[in-house]
Amino acid sequence: MSEEIIKDVIVGENEDYIINMGPQHPSTHGVLRFEVCLKGETVKYLIPHIGYIHRGIEKMCEANTYQQLIHLTDRMDYLSAHMNNEAVCLVVEDALQVEIPERVKYIRTILDELNRIASHQLWWCAFGMDLGALTSFFYGLRDREHILDIFEESFGSRLLHSFVMPGGLMHDVHPNFQKRTKEFIKYFRKKLPEYDQLLTGNIIFQNRVKGIGFMSKKTAIGYGVTGPSARGSNYSCDIRKIAPYGMYDKVQFNEILETGGDTFARYKVRIAEMWESMNIIEQLIDNIPEGDFTAKMKPIIKLPAGEYFRRVETARGELAVYVVSDGNKTPFRMKFRTPNFSNLFVINSLASGHKIADLIAISGSLDLVIPDIDR
């Protein structure tokens, strides 16, 4: 390519001083580009550019049967892979009016909560690293390793375990699944207070995080922000409470709401949710009923023609699956309303007026997973 002449860009006063953060940037957690317009250190406005990891999952879903597209939804929000699969299975089971065995409900809810703890742990590591506390990364990953070992023992893979099938589970959990989960809960109850001592209580951390990125409840609803990020501004949007599925209506747990609305409130919500998930698991782990691990399903699943809609609470917010079926074995149209897509675009209204360092803290507190945005 001939050496084209680069126009000398001289930054005048009125000309915006734009820097590109991403797509390769240490703290965008994935291929996402922020076009940030700066005035000195403070951010004037910010345009997120996405599409770097768009695989066309919705187009691929139209060519796969309902069992085959489970391994696609794994790879949407890879940190809450199990909840994505469960959303698709719930839609299919609703459409076919299949009654899934009690044992499957117990196991699915326990796996949901384990996945939520693992996802919050990785969020905590990355959030600490974004603010400069590099040691938090290793403490979080070390504790997360225990959960991944439990997953690896039962499903064979650590992160993307296409283990849930429409109608139940692919095969039964490993015999010592219960024992190891209880060990993990006992271990993590000792380690979680350490997270607070290392980061939450720290005066530098609190100054870096308090009072920045304020999001009111109205902006949260307007931009469709859901999950822990929205519960930080006192907007109760927990699908496990609104439209309970699995064992969530029979389990006693409370929805964590913080009124602060700033990055610190979102941080506290996620830490409290880890405690809450452990309580849920403890209520379920001891009385998993015996029984077979899947309902009787035909090998080729054909949903009766019509439209089906089901919502699930993933670690980052509300995932809604909308299926239009025309009766044959592959869905006619499948739409995933993913939490990160709406959580991302609120960042411009949160971050403008703050410094660059705050922009990194705000995008960390929204806990974005980029493949979930692009699908």
Binding site: G156, S157, S162, H171, H174, N202
Partner: protein
């Protein structure tokens, strides 16, 4: 006056929170016993993967080179990524009738996403998950494997 008191309590609260953080890292500094890092290349001999670990798809053969694959092609249909190809041919069996026998069970490891549908839906349980996870090769076509070993035949149970 209370602003001065608040100024000093703010400093002392800050310092005490800093010391709490220092205590944690200090505790881990003096307790190397709690280090969990596995020295991978060195502990290769003792490293045992979980027996359900999805390393790759293999076709288990018993001692006298018999496998269970009848060449029906259900796994090929069920695979979402088209990473399995079945090549069958017709062989005259004992009674002289032409019968479909598996010739080559081609498995593209490069396209497989380990969703496990083939292993689950195989009617004669011919496929299983292997524990090998070191798949790095220098040449891409090494990733295309033929699962049934040469000269292996279908295991005939008394039906």
């Amino acid at each position: 006056m209370n602003s001065i008191i608040e100024y000093f309590t703010d400093i002392f609260k800050g310092i005490s929170s800093l010391c709490a953080g220092l205590r944690i890292t200090g505790k881990y500094f003096i307790s190397p016993g709690s280090i969990v890092t596995q020295q991978y290349p060195e502990n290769r001999a003792t490293l045992k993967m979980e027996e359900r670990f999805k390393g790759e798809i293999i076709m288990p053969h018993d001692e006298n080179n018999l496998h269970a694959c009848t060449g029906c092609g259900i796994c090929e249909m069920n695979c979402p990524n088209g990473s399995i190809e079945i090549i069958t041919d017709r062989v005259a069996n004992a009674e002289g009738k032409l019968e479909r026998v598996i010739d080559k069970h081609i498995y593209h490891l490069s396209m497989c996403t380990f969703c496990g549908l083939c292993v689950k839906t195989c009617p004669s349980d011919a496929l299983a998950f292997g524990q090998k996870f070191e798949h790095a090769v220098f040449d891409r076509n090494h990733l295309t494997k033929v699962l049934n070993q040469p000269g292996s035949k279908l295991r005939k149970e008394a039906k």
